[in-house]
Symmetry: C2
C-alpha cells in the first residue's frame, strides 16, 4: 500500500508541477510578456493544459485510487493521507466525467468570447457578445449535465469553485442577507456624503508601493517566498507553496486603489503561504474554495485594513510618507473616507456595504439564465432594473452594466460570483471566532502586530489546504455553520458608528 | 503523406511548446523568482524536461520518420519540409541512443556539481569539486560511447552544440589561429598600455540602460517581440520566435560591461528574431549551432559595436548622455579604450584579441582529458603553465584559474568551449562577405543604419534557422569553407592601426 500511495503521489506531483508551470505562463503573460508573444503563449498554455488534463485523468490514477480505498478506510478522516485520497478522488471523478473534446471546445470558445468582449466593452456593444454569451450558456448547461443527479442545474458549476455549496443553500443565505442589507444601505445613503477628495491628490507610485509592501510584510507576507508586480487587474498566483506572488496596480490620483488591492491580494497570499509544507506537491496544497479564499482577502483588506485600530497605528506613518497631501487630514477623516458608502455602477469599485448587492444580482441572474427563466437577450434590461431597485442608480450604458465583468465572457455562467459574497460573510464569522479566542486582537492590530490573528487563521484555516471543505472548516473553526449574523453585526456596528445610524444599528 | 507530415508537426509542436515553457521557468529563475522558490522550480524543470524527452523519443515519431522517408527523397534538400524531416531525424536518433536513466543520472549529478562549485569557487577550493569533475569526465566519456563509430571521443560531445564539426577539423583550425595570434598579442603587449580609466567613472544604470536599448533598437532588435531584464550573468533566451528576450547587467563604474553585454545578447536575439515565421513551432526554429550563434553576438558586439565608424556616429550621443564623465575624452581615446588589449586571467573579461587564447586552452584540455592524456588532478597546474606560455600571466589561485567557468561544473567536459572561437572566426568571414555584397555597410554603420547589414545576415543566415548546418551556411553565404584569414585580417588591420604595429600587420 505504501508503494501504491507513493506511486499516486508521484503522479500527482507531475500534475502539480505542470500546473505550477502553467501558472507561470499566465503570470508572465500578465506582467512582462512582450505584446507579440501572445499567440505562442496561447499555444503553450493549451499544450500544457492538455498534458495536465491527460495526466490527471490517466486510468492508472483511477486504479490506484480503487486499490487504495481499503487503506483510506483505516486512516483518520483528517489525516494527510486520507485527505489526499478523498480530494484526489473528487478531482479525478470530476475530471473523467467531462469528455476531453468538450474541454477543448469550451477552451477555444472562451478564448474567442474573451477576445470579442475586450473590444465590445469599450465599444458598449452588447450585441457583439450576445451570440457568444448564448453559446456560453449552452456550454454551461452542457457541463452541468455531465453530472446528472444534481438538485439545481447550477450546482455542478458552483461545485467547481465552492465545493459542497448548492444553489438552494446560497439562495437562502443571500435572500436573508439582501433583506438586511437593503435597509442598511438606504439608511446610510440618507446621510450627508463623506468627503474623500483628499484621496485623489497626487500620491507618487513608488511611495505607495513602499508603504503597501511594508504593511503586508508586517501582516506576515513573506517576500522570500513571493513578490509583488504590476498588472492591469490585480491577482494572486501560486507556483508552489514557496513561491506565491501577488500583483497590484497604482493610480497616482487614487490612494485607496493600489493600497487596498495590495492588502486584498496579500490576504489571498497569506492563505497559500500558510498551507502546511507537508502538503506541497499534492492537490491538497491549495486554498479550499473561492469563498474561503475571498474570506481571507476581505478579512485582511477590510476587517483589518479598513479598521480604526489599524489606522490609529498606521496613519501617522502614512502621513509621514505623504506629509503635504495628508497634513490637513485627521485620522477620523481618513478612516471615514476609505469607508465611504455610495451608489455606484461598478462592482470592483464598490464599497464594503453595497458590494454584496452587486454580487447577489449576478448570482440571481446566473440561476435565472440556467433555469431558462431569463434569456441572454433580457439580461441588459434586467440589469438596469435591478440596479434601480437595489442600488438606486441606473447604468447609462451596458459598458458599465452587463459588460463590466470578465467572468461570463471568459468562463461559464454559473458559479462565477457567489464566492465573493460567501467570502464576505465568512470573513466576519472567522474574525469573530478569532477575537473570541484572542480578545487582544484589536489592540494588537492597533500596535501593528498581526501574529496572533495570523497564527489563529493559520492554525484553523491556512495550514489545512484542501483537507476540509469550506463548511467543515467553518464548523471546526467557529463552532457554527455559516450564517450572516456575524457579518451583519460587523457592518451595523462599523457603519452605525461611521454614519451615526442609531436607529438601524441596534443588533437584531 | 500530408496527414502523416501534419501528425509529425503536431507532435513536434508539443515538444516545442514544452521547451518554451521550460525556458520561461529558467528565465524566471534568473530574473524574478523569490529565493525560496528554488526547490520547487528545480522539480518543475525536471518534470517538464522529462516530459519533453519522452515526447521527443516517442516511438511514434520514429515510425512517422520512417514512413515519411520516401516523401523526403522527393523534396528539394533546402525545402522546409525536407529540412524538417532531416533535422528531426538527427534529433530523434541522438535522443533515443541515450538511455533515459543516464539522462536523469547526469541531470542530478550536474545539479549537485553546480551546487558544490558555487561554493568552491569563492573558497578557492579545487579539491572540493575534484571528485565531481572526475565523475563528469566519466559521464562525458559514457555519453560519447553511446555513439560508437566516432573518430575522436570528443566528437559526439562537439556534435551537441556544433553539429558536423569534429575535434580534428577544429584542432587544425585552432592550431593555425594560435600560431598567428601569439605574435600579434606579443607585438601589441610591447606597446605602451592604453588609458581606459575614464570608463570607470560613475555611469548611472538608468542612463546606461536607455542608451543600450536605443542602440539595439536601431540594430533591429524588436521590443514588441522581446525585452531586456537584469541578471547576474547576461543571456539570450527564446520562448517562441515572437518572444526572444535578453538579459544584461550593469556596473556603474564600468561603462563597457553593461553596454557590450547588451550588444552581444542582442546579436544572439537578432538571429532568433530573424528566423522565418514559417518555421515557428518546429525544431527548425532555432539557431543552427553554438558557433554560428556566437558569430552573430560577436559580430554585433565587436565588428559593429567596437568599430570606429560606429562610434563616429554614436559617440556624440553617448557624450550627450554623460557630459560630465566624457567631455574630456575624444572619440579616438574612447575607441582605443574599449578595444584595449591586455594580459588577463578571466575569459569573460578578455579583449577581442586574447579571448581566443583562453578558449583554445580550454578546448585542448577537454581533448586531453577525454583522451586520458591528462587527469583532473593535473588540470590546475596545466592551467597555470599554459596561461604563462600563451598570455604571460599566471593566476595566483584556482578561483581565477580552473574554477572560473561554470561549464565543466554544470555540463559535460567536451564541446563546451569551441563555439566561442568558432564564432569569432565565422563573424569576420560573414562580415567580409556582407561587405563584399554591400560595400556601403561601413558607411551606413557610420550613420547609425544597420538595415543592409541585418538584411544580408537575415537572408543568408537568420531566416534559415536550423535548415543548414554551420558548414553549409558558411559555404552558401561566403562561397568558402570556414577559414581563419578573414578573422586574422580583421584583427591585424584593426589592431595594427590602434597600436601602430607596422611590422606585424602585413597580410601573410
Amino acid at each position: 500500500m505504501k508503494e501504491k500511495f507513493a506511486e499516486l503521489k508521484r503522479r500527482l506531483q507531475e500534475v502539480y508541477d505542470l500546473r505550477g508551470a502553467i501558472h507561470l505562463l499566465y503570470w508572465d503573460q500578465a506582467t512582462y510578456m512582450p505584446p507579440k508573444g501572445a499567440a505562442a503563449r496561447g499555444r503553450q498554455l493549451a499544450t500544457l493544459e492538455h498534458l495536465s488534463h491527460n495526466k490527471l485523468t490517466d486510468p492508472a490514477i483511477g486504479r490506484l485510487l480503487d486499490e487504495l480505498a481499503p487503506y483510506e478506510q483505516e486512516l483518520p478522516y483528517d489525516s494527510d493521507e486520507a485527505s489526499l485520497l478523498r480530494v484526489t478522488r473528487r478531482d479525478y471523478e470530476r475530471a473523467i466525467k467531462v469528455p476531453v473534446e468538450f474541454v477543448s471546445k469550451v477552451s477555444a470558445h472562451r478564448a474567442a468570447s474573451f477576445d470579442v468582449w475586450t473590444r465590445a466593452r469599450p465599444a458598449n456593444d452588447f450585441q457583439a457578445v450576445k451570440p457568444y454569451l448564448e453559446k456560453t450558456l449552452e456550454y454551461s448547461r452542457e457541463f452541468a449535465n455531465y453530472f446528472p443527479g444534481y438538485e439545481h442545474i447550477a450546482d455542478p458549476l458552483i461545485d467547481l469553485s465552492d465545493y459542497g455549496m448548492t444553489a438552494k443553500t446560497i439562495q437562502a443565505l443571500f435572500a436573508e442577507l439582501r433583506q438586511e442589507l437593503l435597509p442598511l444601505v438606504r439608511a446610510i445613503l440618507e446621510q450627508p456624503p463623506v468627503d474623500d477628495s483628499f484621496l485623489h491628490r497626487f500620491y507618487p507610485e513608488e511611495k505607495q508601493k513602499a508603504f503597501g509592501e511594508k504593511v503586508i510584510t508586517q501582516f506576515g507576507y513573506d517576500f522570500q517566498r513571493g513578490r509583488q508586480d504590476k498588472t492591469h487587474h490585480p491577482f494572486m498566483i501560486k507556483f508552489s507553496l514557496n513561491d506565491v506572488r501577488i500583483t497590484t496596480r497604482f493610480d497616482e490620483h487614487n490612494l485607496g486603489d493600489g493600497l487596498f488591492s495590495t492588502l486584498h491580494e496579500a490576504g489571498h497570499a497569506l492563505y497559500e503561504q500558510g498551507i502546511a509544507q507537508e502538503l506541497e506537491g499534492t492537490p491538497l496544497a491549495s486554498g479550499t474554495s473561492s469563498g474561503v479564499h475571498e474570506s481571507q482577502s476581505r478579512l485582511w483588506e477590510n476587517l483589518v485594513g479598513r479598521s480604526r485600530p489599524f489606522w490609529d497605528h498606521y496613519y501617522p506613518e502614512l502621513q509621514a510618507v505623504f506629509p503635504d497631501e495628508l497634513q490637513d487630514v485627521s485620522v477620523e477623516q481618513f478612516h471615514r473616507a476609505i469607508n465611504k458608502v455610495q451608489r455606484s455602477l461598478i462592482r470592483v469599485d464598490a464599497d464594503e456595504v453595497t458590494y454584496n448587492l452587486h454580487v447577489m444580482m449576478r448570482f440571481d441572474f446566473e440561476l435565472a439564465l440556467l433555469e431558462g427563466r431569463m434569456t441572454v437577450d433580457e439580461l441588459p434590461e434586467a440589469w438596469r432594473e435591478r440596479m434601480r431597485t437595489d442600488l438606486g442608480v441606473e447604468p447609462p450604458d451596458d459598458k458599465d452594466g452587463v459588460l463590466q465583468d470578465v467572468h461570463w465572457y471568459s468562463g461559464f455562467i454559473g458559479g462565477a460570483f457567489q464566492g465573493y459574497t460567501l467570502g464576505n460573510i465568512m470573513s466576519a464569522q472567522f474574525f469573530q471566532a478569532a477575537q473570541r479566542a484572542h480578545p487582544e486582537i484589536p489592540e494588537q492590530i492597533g500596535q501593528g502586530q498581526f501574529d496572533v490573528l495570523r497564527g489563529w487563521l493559520t492554525e484553523q484555516i491556512y495550514r489545512h489546504g484542501r483537507k476540509f471543505t469550506a463548511s467543515e472548516l467553518i464548523q471546526r473553526a467557529t463552532g457554527q455553520p455559516l450564517g450572516i449574523q456575524p457579518y451583519m453585526n460587523y457592518l451595523r456596528q462599523k457603519y452605525g458608528q461611521l454614519y451615526q445610524l442609531d436607529r438601524v444599528t441596534a443588533p437584531s
